[in-house]
């Protein structure tokens, strides 16, 4: 009885969660004038998609975005994972200071540093380069990653290191063979939660990129917002197209997270 109430509640929230997205999806198949006459209605055609695809050169942007996001997320996750291990599990001088140093990056308005960052990258010849963007995003993801991963390392049972130490494993071996398999769920979470904001960010590419051929997807979107402010149908079509890769990734990643979770539970 109680279980079924819980189930109903869960599915009811799922409806609330999905409804706006479904409205967006449906609207992307309807002419704008119809959307304004009746906000909700059946799909009528692909016209918006044709328009959105031809007006915004999405294909170049998609490739750039993918390169930047994959590079940045990987780099950010790897360095953060390494850093989080000693912060969460080992005793060493200055641990608290290092932890605070990393977390402090989350509490500043990121846009504050844009001018010095611009000069820095210009000095390194990295303005207008995807490498520059990768480095900026990867570095920007460090505070959050370190914070979450540290918390997870801290949570793992203490007996693990002791057992590893008894087996004569050094810190790197312990990290690689004992810890890494266990933080997989947290790692999947971190990857997903960094992937999305970087995929969606348009501020840095706008300021740091000049060459049209190197722009990322969200910049294309901002053009879109400006150009189709009132053409909701086309706008929605563009939005659906940029969101779909994330949905695919996410569906795949939840599988990973769930797999990681199960592994964690059955260890």
């Amino acid at each position: 009885m109680r279980a079924s109430i819980v189930k109903v509640a869960l599915w009811a929230y799922a409806v609330f969660s999905m409804a706006p997205l479904i409205v967006m999806l449906l609207s992307s198949f309807r002419p704008t004038s119809e959307i304004f006459d009746r906000p909700i209605g059946p799909p009528t055609g692909f016209g918006n998609y044709v328009k959105a695809w031809t007006e915004a050169s999405f294909s170049t942007y998609v490739v750039n975005s993918a390169v930047v996001v994959v590079g940045a997320v990987l780099l950010g996750a790897v360095v953060s994972l390494l850093a989080a291990y000693p912060l969460g599990r080992r005793q060493f001088r200055g641990r608290g200071v290092f932890a605070a140093y990393f977390v402090s990056g989350m509490t500043l308005p990121a846009h504050l540093g844009v001018l010095p960052l611009f000069y820095l990258l210009e000095g390194m010849g990295l303005v207008d380069s995807l490498t520059g963007l990768v480095l900026v995003y990867a570095a920007g993801s460090v505070p959050f990653n370190v914070f979450v991963l540290t918390a997870f390392f801290r949570q793992l049972p203490h007996e693990l290191d002791e057992a590893a130490a008894l087996d004569g494993a050094g810190p790197f071996a312990t990290f690689w063979h004992v810890m890494l398999p266990l933080v997989r769920p947290a790692l999947a979470t971190v990857v997903v939660f960094q992937f999305v904001p970087i995929w969606n960010d348009f501020f840095y590419p706008l300021v740091l990129m000049r060459d049209e051929a190197k722009l990322t997807l969200p910049v294309g979107l901002t053009h879109f917002f400006g150009q189709f402010q009132n053409d909701w149908g086309t706008l929605f079509a563009g939005l659906v197209m940029t969101t779909i890769p994330l949905v695919v990734l996410f569906v795949l990643a939840t599988r990973q997270i769930v797999a990681g979770l199960t592994a964690g539970m059955n260890r």
Binding site: G71, L74, L82, V114, T222, G226, Q227
Partner: protein, 411 residues
């Protein structure tokens, strides 16, 4: 560690594969890059004319449609070494940070002869406040008025009002028929002073009053100004329900979908409605006041400036000279359906011609742009105050007092 190394290597490898910097100049052809915030296609079309007449030059227009980010993009772009050769500049107060940082080339009539013919009222907005030098070639003058749907007017036996009472009775008539008289939304607060000035400028007596405030002889809390902005309260029954929650785009759509009869706004809307509501025949009028004829506020929009670091100074100046010419002015007006700031251009569009005549006779300065200084700017403070007034939280007098208080911090 192996994984880390592999990941770093991968990241480097993928990014290295990306296309390298495109090679610019092919066989002595010079590319002038121009940054702006309007629809790119229109500029490509206009600049193609220049390229035709100047075969050695390729003008590359880049548009950043997000208006607010544009300021950041431009200020960092001009600070760095690979900024544009020319760029759209904002008018008046918002131009000053670039001027004071020394990012722009001062223009004189030797290089840009066309500037000599500009009206001082127009040119003022492209000048440095401190040094009085001209830093841009103004491109547009915007006027503010009421745009109306001719068919809805005709169907309801209404003509553009000659008197204030007539305007009110027409609005009542429309409302009784279930048509929203004025499509106006106060959610985007920058619209509020614009609409207040459309209905109120004549109440406070236009430029004379503004000059008196600037000379500190009068305050905004003056009953005439209060009466002017109070028009928003008086006309509230004829705005959409819950007007403070209606966004600017909502208001545009109310008008373009034929649900509303009139749209108080800038002349740039003609271009928009022309494209998005092709079947609606548009007319314009200046709202009358109880004392009689209303005033049409207007302001100088942005200008084209030259980057002080441009590698093609001579070509950039030559292009700037063309931008100040009647050829460009005509092209601009006819392509964009907006008044060019170049003097002596006669618009081909009949509606634009009509507005031009009214503006010559009953034009006034849009007050808010004169008071866009301070941090927070007085314009921002007043926009918010007007929003609170529209929500019924403060009175018109209190809103005006807030503006006075803000202006007193910098005037």
């Amino acid at each position: 560690m192996r994984l880390a190394a592999a990941a770093v290597a991968l990241a480097m490898a993928v990014t290295a594969c990306a296309p390298s910097t495109t090679t610019r100049a092919d066989q002595g052809k010079i590319t002038l890059s121009v940054w702006g915030w309007g629809p790119e296609a229109n500029y490509d079309k206009m600049f193609a004319e220049y390229e035709k007449a100047n075969p050695g030059v390729d003008v590359d227009a880049r548009s950043f449609t997000t208006a607010t980010e544009y300021d950041t993009i431009l200020s960092t772009g001009l600070a760095g070494d690979n900024g544009p050769d020319l760029a759209w500049l904002r008018a008046g107060a918002n131009l000053q940070p670039l001027v004071e940082a020394g990012r722009l080339l001062p223009l004189d009539t030797k290089d840009v002869p066309g500037l000599a013919a500009y009206d001082e009222k127009v040119l003022r907005y492209a000048k440095g406040d401190k040094d009085g030098k001209v830093y841009g070639v103004p491109f547009a003058v915007q006027t503010l008025q009421v745009i109306y749907n001719k068919k809805i007017f005709a169907d309801n036996g209404i003509t553009p009002p000659k008197t204030y009472d007539e305007m009110i009775s027409s609005a009542q008539k429309l409302k009784a028929k279930g048509i929203i008289p004025f499509a106006f939304g106060g959610k985007d607060d920058w619209m509020l002073p614009i609409v207040a000035s459309i209905f109120g400028t004549a109440h406070w007596g236009g430029d004379d009053f503004i000059a008196a405030v600037k000379a500190k002889q009068k305050k905004f809390a003056d009953p005439r100004f209060v009466e002017g902005i109070d028009q928003l309260n008086k006309l509230k029954p004829y705005f959409p329900d819950n007007a403070a929650g209606v966004s600017y785009t909502d208001a545009q759509i109310l008008f373009s979908s034929g649900k509303a009869a009139m749209f108080p706004g800038g002349l740039w809307e003609l271009n928009f409605f022309g494209e998005n509501a092709k079947d609606i025949e548009l007319g314009v009028f200046t709202p009358p006041v109880p004392e009689g004829q209303g005033l049409m506020p207007g302001f100088t929009d942005g200008s084209y400036g030259v980057n002080v670091k441009t590698r093609h100074k001579a070509e950039a100046l030559k292009f700037a000279a063309w931008l100040a010419s009647k050829d460009y002015g005509q092209l601009y007006t006819d392509t964009l359906r907006i008044f060019s700031a170049v003097p002596g251009v006669t618009p081909k569009d009949p509606l634009l011609g009509e507005v031009s005549t009214t503006f010559d006779r009953h034009g006034a300065t849009y007050f808010m742009n004169e008071f866009a200084y301070g941090n927070p700017s007085s314009a921002a403070v007043f926009s918010k105050a007007l929003q609170e007034m529209l929500l019924g939280r403060i009175t018109a007098k209190q809103a005006a007092e807030q503006l006075d208080k803000s202006v007193s911090t910098w005037l």
